[in-house]
C-alpha cells in the first residue's frame, strides 16, 4: 500500500506538466483546473436554483405578505404585512404561538428519539450482518422491505394495525399477552406519539442500515486481523475499528436523518389525517394546517421561515462541532 502513496503536493504541482512548452501548458492547466469543479457543479446548481432556491425565496417573500384566500389569485395585490406574521407566530402567550411552540417541542423530542433509535438499530444490524452467514442475503433484503413499500401503503398498514378495537397491536398486547387492563388508543390521545415514533423508526432505520452497510465495505479486513492479533476482542474491534471508520458516513447520515425526520410530512399525514392529535402534532403538519387548510399562506410561510432559521442554526452548530472534531483527529 505504501508504495502507491504519493505526496499530494507533488501530484498537484509537478506531476501533470511533464512535456514541452511548460508555460502554455501550465496556463491551460490552471484554467482547466479552476473551471472544472464549477463545470461539475453546474447541473446540480441549475436544478437547485430552479426547484429549490427560487421557490424558497418566493416563500420567504410570502412570509411578509398578508397572503390569505382573498389574495392567492393575484399575489401581487396582497398587502405587505411587515413582521406581523412572525409576531403572531412568536407570541407564545397567545394560542397560535403557544400551539406552534408546543408543536416545536413535540417535533424536537420526536426527532431526537427517532434519529437516535434508527441510527442505533441501523448500526447494530449492519455490524451484525457484516460477517457472512447462511441467510444473510435474505435477511438484508427483508430489512430493506420497509423502504421498498410506498409510504402510503406502509403507513396505512400501521394505522390499520394500531386501530383500537380491531388492530393487531391491541390484539397481541391485550387479548393475547394481557399486558394492558384495557385496550389503549394509539391513533388518538397521548399514545399517538409512541405510535408515530414506532412507524417513523420502522421506516427510517433501513436507510441507516443501508448507508452504514455501504460504509462498512470500505474497512479493510486487514485492520480487524491486525487488531485480533493484538488480542482485541470483538467489542474492542467494533469500538476501535468499526465505529471510527464509519465516522464520515455517520456525519452525513445523522444529519440526513435529522432533517428528514424533522420535516417529515407523509408519515403523520397518512397516519393521522389532516388533524394530528396534540401529542403527535409535528411541525410539518402544523404548518400544513396553518397554510393549506386555513389558506393563510403568509402565516404558514412565516412559520416555515422560523423553522428554516432554526434548522440552519442546528446544522451550522453541528457542522462546526463535527468539523472541529474532525480537525482535531487529523
Amino acid at each position: 500500500m505504501s508504495e502507491k502513496v504519493i505526496d499530494r503536493q507533488t501530484v498537484g504541482k509537478e506531476a501533470a506538466p511533464k512535456g514541452a512548452a511548460p508555460a502554455r501548458r501550465r496556463l491551460r492547466d490552471k484554467f482547466g483546473r479552476s473551471a472544472l469543479p464549477y463545470l461539475l457543479l453546474l447541473p446540480a446548481l441549475l436544478a437547485e436554483l430552479l426547484i429549490h432556491l427560487v421557490p424558497m425565496v418566493t416563500g420567504i417573500v410570502m412570509a411578509f405578505k398578508q397572503l390569505t384566500q382573498f389574495f392567492i389569485r393575484d399575489w401581487g395585490s396582497a398587502p405587505w404585512s411587515g413582521f406581523d406574521n412572525f409576531k403572531v407566530a412568536l407570541e407564545f402567550d397567545a394560542p397560535v404561538g403557544k400551539a406552534l411552540l408546543h408543536s416545536f417541542w413535540v417535533t424536537c423530542g420526536f426527532t431526537v428519539l427517532s434519529v437516535g433509535l434508527s441510527w442505533l438499530i441501523g448500526v447494530t444490524a449492519s455490524i451484525f450482518t457484516q460477517d457472512a452467514f447462511r441467510g444473510r442475503g435474505l435477511l438484508r433484503a427483508a430489512f430493506m422491505l420497509p423502504y421498498a413499500l410506498p409510504v402510503f401503503a406502509a403507513v396505512i398498514t400501521w394505522s390499520f394495525m394500531f386501530q383500537r378495537d380491531t388492530g393487531l397491536i391491541n390484539h397481541v398486547l391485550h387479548d393475547q399477552l394481557h399486558l394492558t387492563s384495557d385496550k389503549p388508543f394509539w391513533l388518538i390521545g397521548d399514545n399517538s406519539f409512541w405510535a408515530l415514533l414506532t412507524v417513523s423508526v420502522w421506516k427510517s432505520w433501513p436507510f441507516a442500515f443501508l448507508t452504514l452497510t455501504a460504509g462498512l465495505q470500505n474497512i479493510p479486513r486487514e485492520l480487524y486481523e491486525a487488531a485480533a492479533l493484538d488480542g482485541a476482542g470483538v467489542w474492542q474491534q467494533i469500538r476501535r475499528i468499526t465505529l471510527p471508520s464509519l465516522r464520515p458516513v455517520n456525519l452525513v447520515l445523522v444529519l440526513v436523518l435529522f432533517l428528514w425526520t424533522f420535516n417529515d410530512f407523509n408519515t403523520p399525514f397518512v397516519l393521522f389525517g389532516k388533524s394530528a392529535p396534540q401529542a403527535a402534532d409535528l411541525i410539518s403538519i402544523h404548518i400544513y394546517q396553518s397554510s393549506f387548510i386555513t389558506w393563510n399562506f403568509g402565516q404558514g410561510s412565516a412559520m416555515s421561515v422560523l423553522l428554516l432559521l432554526f434548522l440552519l442554526l442546528v446544522t451550522a452548530v453541528y457542522l462546526f462541532a463535527t468539523n472541529r472534531r474532525r480537525g482535531e483527529a487529523e
Partner: protein, 280 residues
C-alpha cells in the same frame, strides 16, 4: 469481525431475529389482509382469513388504474434516480477532490435547501412551472418531466453530500496513482472512483429512488389523471364510502414486488469484494 465468541453469536441471532420480526410484521399483516374478504378486514384482527380469497388481487386493477399509476411511478422514480445520481456524482466528486472558491457556500446552500418544509415551496414551485409553461411552451405542470425534475432535486443535496462522504473515504492514493498514469479527471472518475464507490452509489441511488417513489404531497398537486403516481394513486382505495383495506394491501404488495426484486439484485454490488480488491 475476527473470532467472535459464542456470546456474540448468540446476541447476534437474538437481535437479528427481533429486528426481523419488527420489520416483517406489517408485511405479514399486508399479506394476510390481502387474502381476506372485506368484512374480515373490517372486523377484529385475525391472522387466518375466515375465507381465503384472491379477489382483492383481481379487484385492485378495477378499483383504480393501478397499472397506469405503476408505470408512471417507475418512469418518474427511475428517471429521477438516474439523473440525480449522475448529477450528484459529478458534484460530489468536485466537492470531495477539488479545492475551489465558493465550495463552502455551495455545500451550505445546497444543504440548506433541505431544511425548507416542502409544503411551503409547493405553491411557488407550481407557479413557476405554470409560468415556464406559459412563456416557453414546455409543459412542466402535470407532466412526468416536471415531476422528474422536482424529485431529482429533492434527493440531490443529500446525494451530493453522501457521495462526497463516500468518496472521501476512498483513499486518494487511487486517483493520484491514476493521475500519474496519465488519466484525466473524468477518466479517473469513471474508471477508478465509480467502481470503488459503487456501494455508496447504490445506497444513494436507492435513497433517490425511494424519495421519488413515496412522495405524496407534490405528486398530488403536480399530476393529473394521466400522470398520477402510485404514492397518490393508492389513496384511491380509500374512497368516499369505504376503505378497501384488503385491496390497499394487495396492491401495495404487488407494486412492491418489482422494487424488492430490484433490491435483491443490487445487493450483490453492495457486498464487499469490489472495493476491497481495489484498495488492497
Amino acid at each position: 469481525m475476527i473470532n467472535p465468541p459464542a456470546s456474540f453469536r448468540w446476541l447476534r441471532r437474538v437481535v437479528l431475529l427481533v429486528l426481523a420480526v419488527f420489520t416483517l410484521t406489517p408485511v405479514a399483516v399486508m399479506l394476510s389482509s390481502s387474502l381476506k374478504p372485506l368484512r374480515d378486514v373490517q372486523g377484529p384482527w385475525r391472522w387466518i382469513p375466515s375465507e381465503l380469497t384472491f379477489r382483492p388481487y383481481i379487484d385492485i386493477w378495477k378499483t383504480v388504474p393501478l397499472a397506469k399509476y405503476f408505470t408512471n411511478s417507475l418512469i418518474v422514480a427511475g428517471s429521477a434516480t438516474a439523473l440525480s445520481v449522475l448529477i450528484a456524482l459529478l458534484a460530489g466528486y468536485a466537492v470531495s477532490r477539488y479545492r475551489f472558491r465558493g465550495k463552502k457556500i455551495f455545500t451550505i446552500t445546497v444543504l440548506s435547501t433541505q431544511m425548507f418544509p416542502g409544503i411551503l415551496f409547493l405553491l411557488p414551485l407550481f407557479l413557476i412551472f405554470v409560468n415556464i409553461g406559459n412563456s416557453t411552451g414546455i409543459a412542466l405542470y402535470g407532466s412526468r418531466g416536471g415531476l422528474i425534475l422536482t424529485y431529482l432535486t429533492f434527493s440531490l443535496p443529500f446525494s451530493i453530500w453522501m457521495l462526497a462522504g463516500y468518496l472521501d473515504s476512498i483513499p486518494r492514493d487511487l486517483d493520484e496513482a491514476a493521475a500519474v498514469d496519465g488519466c484525466g479527471p473524468i477518466r479517473t472518475l469513471v474508471q477508478i472512483i465509480v467502481p470503488a464507490a459503487l456501494p455508496g452509489i447504490i445506497a444513494v441511488a436507492v435513497y433517490a429512488f425511494m424519495t421519488a417513489w413515496g412522495e405524496v404531497l407534490f405528486a398530488s398537486v403536480m399530476t393529473n389523471d394521466q400522470t398520477r403516481t402510485l404514492a397518490v394513486g393508492l389513496q384511491g382505495y380509500a374512497t368516499q364510502t369505504d376503505v378497501y383495506w384488503n385491496q390497499v394491501m394487495a396492491a401495495s404488495l404487488v407494486v412492491s414486488l418489482p422494487v424488492v426484486a430490484g433490491f435483491l439484485l443490487l445487493q450483490r454490488y453492495l457486498v464487499a469484494g469490489l472495493t476491497a480488491g481495489a484498495v488492497k
